[in-house]
Amino acid sequence: MAAAGHDVQIDHVSHRFADYVAVDDVSLTIDGGGLVALLGPSGCGKSTLLRIIAGFIAQSSGRILFDGAPVDHLPANRRGVGIVFQNYALFPHMTVRDNVAYGLRAQKWERDDIGPRVEEMLRRVHMAQFADRFPKQLSGGQQQRVALARCLATDPKVLLLDEPFAALDKNLRFDMQVEVKRLQHEYGITTIMVTHDQEEALAMADRIAVMSRGRLEQVASPTEIYDRPATLFVNQFVGSTNLLRGELLAQDSNGALVRLDDGTALRAADSKGLMPGAKVVVAVRPEGLVLSDNAVEGARPGRIKTVMPLGPQVAYDIETEDGAALKAVVARSGASGLREADSIVHVAPVSPAACNIFAIE
């Protein structure tokens, strides 16, 4: 069944609602079989972009291409796009079987082929024993399986997922993420997922496109997005971070030297082409900080305000002498116990690579 997926190309697409620009000149190419997550806060234009790809909205300008051919003239019912909605949008007056058969009937499949196809799809999502139930008799996860089966039954070129896991509770969400990824892999179908949940995007996607205010901020692999965010927005939106203000002192082939506002000197791996003297902010992830009992070079002393044991890790909220708050997450090893609240520690970045520099405009 695994066919080569279809390429999707978003070519300089913009969309305006009255005088509000929802999508601003977005270009993005998704290779066949890939799973791309459109990630951003609500109102960033990601859902509008998804509805444009589906054909529910005609964009103000730009083109959508499948396998190099424009599809803008095709209405949603002829575009060959499958979509799973956040609320699943199963037809409440039809059984599970009729829901899955709906698309096949609409696309005029041979009557004799519909029955076996429906059974096959329900087996694939482990819902065969629920074929005669109505949607409201199913749990959220089961409804989502049916929605996926209904959507994949007609062999769409592209699968669109609109906040697919937002309505599920945490444990079920993980199961369904695994399930969706399995199905996506099995079918080799090009998939675009919209989400505001960074963990979901990191867990599911081959590539993440971070959007803000209608524009693409960065398109990269999950690790790249997390470790080397292109903009301060991406850094703050994806994962937790500590921001330290300072001034760029020097840059060389080894990276950059920054003097923070409290006087501490700090090394960063990449100066991103900024000139010495530039006002910068250094972003360090909580797990990019080490805590030590003794003063070491580049470390700043601080007092532990809160200790949060998270199981395999411990999160500390630390207040430095100049009043700044730092978050640090440290793996718990057998040797080191918990640090006590109110104790003094010295905080330093793990390595220059853990520090990302952004210019302050």
């Binding site: 589906a54 054909g55 529910f56 209405p75 949603a76 019912n77 002829r78 575009r79 796009v81 499958g82 979509i83 909605f85 609320n87 949008a89 037809f91 409440p92 007056h93 709906y102 698309g103 609409a106 696309q107 109505f134 409201k136 209904r150 959507c151 007609t154």
Partner: protein, 276 residues
Amino acid sequence: MQRDSLALAVPLAALFLVAFIAPLCVLLALSLSGDSEFGRFTLQNYVKFFTDRFNYSILIDTLLLGIKSTAVCLVFGYPIAWVAARSSPRVQSLLLFIVVLPIMTSVVVRTFAWIVILGRYGVLNQIVQSLGLTQEPLKLLYSEVGVVIVLAQVQMPLMVLPILTVLSRIDPNLSDASQALGAGAWRTLWRVTLPLSTPGIVAGCILTYAACVTAFVTQSLIGGARLVYMPLHIYQQAVGANNWPFAAALSVIFMIAVLAAVALLNTIAARAHRHA
């Protein structure tokens, strides 16, 4: 809590008892008494009704009139509700205003306006004749067709409002999902929107039907003296023939017939809509 809420219902219950249940009992008692001596128990009024073809053909005509008017109302009302549900709030309130307008004019004024439109030399006939569609003027006034047209127009809000309410509660994702699965607009309407709006359709039909069969003024003025429906028949028996017991029997039979029709509609709807 329960007692408090029961106490709140007492005024309405009292009003119902005095103004509805009590007269109904009097009506029932009256229908079971003889022509002359009030108080003597007899079934003669009911026997008279069911043995006289003239009587029960009036009942059947009336029930059929209700079905026809309701059907016309549904055929025109559903698209109006559908368009209104998809319109911007401003267009929607304009549409609703137009639909509700008939309720806001006096029934007599409204009916005479229709007489002007439907009459032998009325507006409608002049248009039809000037277009050369017919030589002879159409007989609309004092005909059942005329009564159906006017009833459908007058009762339109009773059909449109419940349907609109249900339509605007349907998840808009459902029609998007249908479209993405390859369905055209008609299939979506027929397979998704229409089945999901049955509660509104049923409510609209029940209200319209009940209003149409009992619309005394419209039936009498548009239908004229030769078209007799149950409300007029009851009126004639009571006030014209001064036969109150028979008029009471007619009322009871009419009421049961209408209730039975409504109950039938409800059952069909409940069966069709058990799962949605």
